[in-house]
């Protein structure tokens, strides 16, 4: 049995790691050079957060696992990220919709976590707030451009928002573990982040002339290691080298 703090650090770290991996797929494929730079930048920020959080998880666990052992040598069922971040990139609209939903969530999360009683989590979050504020702004600007751009971009952006909306519910699910840590002042209960997120996101969608989808389907399971069928392929690719050369240093 591993402790709740280990588990919590994994959740945050895996979200950042898997989204960084997905954004990394964009590089050299973006609609313009500035976006190759921007998406690489966001991927780098997330990867940096992931490294801090996974290192910390390994430290808390005390079993000698470092960031790479946790990233490269766990199986799919041991990953704790939400399903939203593991979905295939799709077109630029889908990537932007995911960025809008996730960055807005993560910004609220890190702002609150920056005052955590856990000095490491507070440090990571405090440092990341500025980065994530840029991610949220980047996604917001593009949501406006695509939503209020051409007919085609509007159609694509609305399709993207509709398709990804169901996956946003999982971001705000709380459970005993996180409520326990939140009561100690260590974690942030994600349920508390929802109202501000909802206001922010629906405001952006409205300005972008996009409809806010109805709540219906609520896929979930990532925090318990229940993922979509997409994650396995992502991990096979990501983990290949360390799996193929056990024990090698790189």
């Amino acid at each position: 049995m591993t402790g709740p703090l280990f588990e919590y650090a994994l959740r945050l770290g895996d979200d950042a790691l898997i989204l960084a991996q997905r954004l990394g797929e964009w590089i050299s494929r973006a609609p313009e050079l500035e976006e190759d730079v921007a998406l690489a930048n966001i991927a780098l920020d997330l990867l940096g957060q992931a490294r801090s959080l996974l290192s910390y998880a390994g430290q808390v666990e005390g079993a000698g696992r470092d960031e790479d052992a946790l990233a490269y040598l766990r199986e799919e069922r041991q990953f704790r990220n939400v399903q939203l971040v593991e979905l295939p990139n799709g077109d630029f609209a889908r990537t932007i919709a995911r960025q809008l939903f996730f960055a807005t969530y993560q910004l609220g999360l890190y702002q609150a976590l920056a005052t955590s009683k856990d000095a490491t989590l507070a440090g990571v979050a405090g440092k990341a707030v500025k980065e994530v504020a840029y991610h949220a702004d980047h996604a917001t600007q593009w949501t406006l451009r695509l939503g209020d751009g051409t007919e085609e971009s509007h159609r694509r952006m609305q399709e993207a928002v509709d398709r990804l909306w169901p996956y946003t519910h999982e971001l705000f699910e709380s459970d005993e573990l996180v409520r326990g840590l939140a009561a100690e002042g260590v974690a942030v209960d994600p349920a508390t982040l929802r109202p501000a997120w909802q206001e922010q996101v629906t405001g952006v969608l409205a300005e972008a002339t996009l409809a806010v989808p109805e709540d219906d389907w609520r896929p979930t399971g990532g925090r318990r290691g229940i993922h979509t069928e997409h994650l396995g392929y992502l991990l096979a690719e990501m983990q290949y080298l360390p799996r193929a050369y056990p024990g090698a240093k790189w």
Partner: protein, 318 residues
């Protein structure tokens, strides 16, 4: 030529003579402008096509630290592309025009990027050899007679030498790792060594544009001079890596004070240049697809910007 033009040309020649910078506002001969556009565009295209072979390993980098370094490197290449297209724009040609020429196959990019990256060690070999050759080519360009290009090169060279050290470090780690890792490093060096020598272009006696470029101080050294400089640099580095270079004729020549090296397979060079390298078609298709699939995004951004302008104008009017 009118008298006014003659005066301008004399001014231009004096600038060149005095090793001063030509700036966008200055008059310049049409040939100078064309040569620069061709060279800067090719350089910019090389940066963005060059994102592909290394980008191929971003999702598969074997540690998170290496992944971060690699993303940052490929991001730098996109950034270099941006500087260079901007430098070209000072000569009166837009990025969109240059990209169209690239996509139509009417402008080139460095042939080195038409080789595949088959293993992780290729990322190291590209950093060490390809960036090493690029720096050798580019350091003299920091003193190029055209100001905006020279200044872009200063910035680029600083980052490139960082990349070269990272590539060296990847290979060093591999060559001091398991036997399989060392073999992987050696194999990558074996595949990238000769193509990196070709990066300096054809031998001086076959080089078309060199003499005029040297006179204009766009270029400062001949292809063969730069190639020799590169070989002299990497031989001791290969020794430090504990790897060999795949050239049986490579040996120190005390008389010349340089390393002698074997004959380059120029047939291969010209084949790749003609479009028949292993990855020419793949690189161009990847590039064109990204451009085409991004068209609706660029149009949306434009449409939105226009609407915003319109709104601002109406607000002012109201």
């Amino acid at each position: 030529m009118t008298q006014a033009t003659r005066a301008l040309e004399e001014h231009f020649n004096r600038l060149i003579e005095a090793d001063q910078r030509v700036e966008p506002r200055d008059w310049m001969p049409e040939g100078y402008r064309k040569t620069l556009i061709r060279q800067i565009a090719q350089h910019a295209h090389s940066e963005i096509i060059g994102m592909q072979p290394e980008g191929n390993w971003i999702t598969r980098a074997p540690s998170l630290r290496r992944k971060a370094i690699l993303i940052a490197k490929v991001q730098d290449e996109a950034g270099h592309g941006l500087y260079l297209y901007s430098a070209a724009e000072t000569l009166g040609v837009s990025r969109a025009e240059l990209l169209d020429l690239l996509h139509a196959g009417k402008q080139k990019y460095s042939s080195i990027f038409n080789y595949p990256t088959l293993t992780w060690a290729d990322v190291g070999a590209i950093g060490w050899l390809v960036d090493g050759a690029a720096i050798t080519n580019q350091v003299p360009l920091c003193r190029c007679s055209y100001g905006p290009y020279a200044r872009a090169m200063v910035r680029i060279c600083k980052e490139e030498s960082f990349h070269q050290r990272q590539g060296f470090e990847i290979l060093y780690t591999l060559s001091h790792g398991t036997p399989e890792q060392k073999a992987m490093a050696q194999d990558a060096v074996n595949r990238w060594y000769w193509p990196s020598l070709m990066m300096f272009g054809p031998p001086d006696e076959e080089s078309k544009h060199s003499a005029q470029s040297m006179a204009w101080k766009i270029k400062r050294h001949s292809n063969d001079e730069l190639r020799q400089k590169f070989v002299d640099m990497i031989v001791p580095q290969a020794e430090a890596l504990g790897l060999t270079l795949p050239d049986p004729d490579l040996k120190w020549n005390p008389e010349r004070g340089h390393y002698d090296f074997g004959l380059i397979d120029w047939d291969e060079f010209y084949e790749v240049l003609k479009g028949n390298g292993p990855c020419n078609r793949q690189r161009m298709e990847h590039r064109r697809r990204a451009h085409e699939e991004g068209a609706w995004v660029r149009e949306a951004a434009l449409a939105y910007a226009r609407k915003q302008e319109e709104r601002a104008r109406k607000e002012q009017a109201a």
